[in-house]
Amino acid sequence: MLSFIGRSIVQKMITLFFVSVISFLIIHLAPGEPSQVDPLNPKFTPEIVERFRKEFHLDKPLYVQYLFFYRGLLSGRTVSWKDNQPVLAKMWERFLNSLPLFIVGTIITWTLSFPIGIRSAIFRGGIFDRSATFFSYFLISIPGFFFAYILIIFVVTRFQVPVIGMQTFGLSDASTVRILMDRVWHLLLPSMLGATGGIAILSRYVRSQMLEVEGQDYVRTAKAKGLSWEQVHYKHALRNALLPFVTMFGLILPGLIGGSVIIESIFSWPGMGRMAYEAILARDYPIILTVNFISAVLVLLGTFISDVLYLVVDPRIRL
């Protein structure tokens, strides 16, 4: 166990190092320079550009720039090229905005997909199963931005509530309940949209896991000895089917920072995804690289947690 954890951590550190090198190379070897982002701007005289390049070490060779950047990142001193704000502080602020979306989206995903998946597995081939299958393909296939507009039109014309942004502007003197409801309405649509893909995939996965278990001998035995319907399906089958999902708690971790670029730009939601999008537009390399780096850390951390959880949960795995 300990040796597994140790080996896995070393391996993940090496992977992280290569991720940092590759993302750095991709960004810096791409044509164009951040100093030329706005060539028509009269303020960008050659002297300013030169000063800019010197200030951010852009005139040094690549490996020196790499060392400078990651030293700055790890010691928390990296600043955004656009507005000289510290990158980590800026990201933390945006992260707090994205967090409610992530939490509500995850709750919607997990509370909806389990009942759907279990029900379609138990009544396999029935009308519910077939419509759930088709509906999940539908949800995977619908472009998020298109679905967003359908929902916006529907909600705005039906319920007459504003949905763009994080809250309605100028509501500060309204009652607390009103403000709360306003926040909820603004939160609901983007988090639902973020959850659509997850619901489709997770409910299919629950269904297939459940089908796997329902075919086992012990479920047949449970049925044969006359246990009640609930006991067969929820006690004997479901408990055993839940095993892989424990590990999925690790795998949702990357979603924390993934904050959908498209959804957040449609809803003008000032979250991580939108910040990343703005950084790309402004060629703000420190932010792009930091987002990349942190999300790689989260992916690695997520797989690590899920591996360890699997070890803990499944006694059949011995190292």
Partner: protein, 385 residues
């Protein structure tokens, strides 16, 4: 896939041929899966429309001109008749009406949709083609030659070559040439000497295996999986000059990891099978074993993931176009028709709904077809349905 009748002990005649060919069996199962059949039908229709659309919207005098601006006729609803008084004869819509309406510049949305169909089709196929090619190549190497160990002198050689090439590329010619010559000399020497029976003690550690090909390739897959894919694609597409080829290449190069894993897993299990051992015993070369015996057996999961990958690539391209990083403007894609139309969502909803539903239907058809293929090609799943 075909079922052979078991040899009966009594009969001395040759074993009877399978009752159905592989294709017939496949088609029989496929016809039962109505969703997949619908997916295939829609896919074929889409293919024909895209090819036809390319031929009628391109050229110097296209029949349907997607770029023709008719300012007096802007935001006309679908199926509306053109206003004959304001149009000069060359500006008449070819079908006598605006089938899908017009956009904010009075361009015929039907022509633009036809043009965009071709973009979606090519982006999907080329991107997935690149991904499948890279995936089969790397997965095949990892699965077949995976156990070959990489020795320290291989790494040394690689570093020499890389150092030389990069020094050459960054303009310092002299050290680059020196390094490259050293690398070639090293390569020549190791090729000449072959395998020395007893390398001298100083050189012995050079021959020690450091890692294996398989480890190297799979670690690379792990590294690529760490990148947030849509964000990476967005970054690269934004930094590179806008062109449809860049989008295809970037989507392809960021989505090959799944295929690599499938192919490697298939190859690892196929390599141990009797027919591969038999082929080896007959003296069949590696290349023939890989291309004639193993790849045809490993192709099923690749086909499924490729079909679903096309759906994903079309969605990604539409998303990029929607954010404004797609194909440069005069050219229409479904994503940028929708993106342009979103400003008029309450006045001209067709500008949002027509491309949106088009993307939805095409992507859905690919997903359904792919899932159907998965059910049919996997004999273990087949009994369930």
């Amino acid at each position: 896939m075909t079922k052979f009748q078991p040899h009966s002990e009594s009969s001395s005649e040759a074993p009877p041929a399978p009752r159905r060919t592989q294709g017939q069996e496949f088609w029989r199962l496929f016809k039962k899966n109505r969703l997949a059949l619908a997916g295939l039908a829609i896919f074929l229709i889409f293919f024909i429309i895209a090819v036809a659309g390319l031929s009628v919207t391109s050229g110097t005098r296209p029949y349907f001109d997607p770029a023709l601006v008719r300012l007096p006729e802007k935001l006309r609803p679908p199926l509306s008749r053109p206003n004959l008084e304001v149009l000069i004869p060359g500006e008449m819509p070819p079908l006598g009406m605006y089938v899908f309406g017009t956009d904010d510049l009075g361009r015929d949305v039907f022509s633009r949709m036809l043009q965009g169909a071709w973009v979606s089709l090519t982006v999907g196929f080329v991107a997935v083609g690149i991904a499948v090619f890279v995936g089969i190549l790397l997965g095949g190497i990892a699965g077949y030659y995976g156990q070959t160990s990489i020795t320290i002198n291989h790494i040394f050689l690689f570093c020499l070559m890389l150092g030389g090439a990069s020094a050459f590329a960054f303009g310092s010619l002299f050290p680059g040439v020196i390094l490259l010559i050293a690398a070639i000399a090293f390569l020549y020497r190791s090729a000449r000497s072959g395998k020395p029976a007893k390398p001298s003690l100083a050189l012995a550690w050079l021959q020690k295996g450091a890692t294996s090909v398989d480890t190297l390739i799979m670690r690379f897959v792990d590294i690529m999986l760490c990148f947030p894919s849509f964000f990476l694609i967005l970054t690269v597409v934004a930094l590179l000059p806008a062109s449809i080829y860049n989008i295809m290449i970037v989507i392809g190069l960021t989505s090959w990891m799944g295929t690599t894993r499938f192919v490697r897993a298939e190859f690892l299990s196929l390599r141990e099978q009797d027919f591969v051992t038999a082929a080896k015993a007959l003296g069949v070369g590696d290349r023939r074993i890989i291309f004639r015996h193993m790849i045809p057996n490993a192709v099923a999961p690749v086909l499924v993931s490729a079909t679903i990958g096309i759906a994903g690539a079309i969605l990604t391209e539409a998303g990029l176009s929607f954010l404004g990083f797609g194909v440069p403007p005069p050219y229409a894609t479904w994503g940028n028709i929708l993106s342009d139309g979103k400003r008029f969502i309450f006045d001209a909803p067709w500008l949002t709904f027509i491309p949106g539903f088009a993307i939805l239907i095409v992507v859905l058809s690919f997903n359904l077809f792919g899932e159907g293929l998965r059910d049919i090609l996997n004999p273990k799943l087949r009994e369930r349905y």
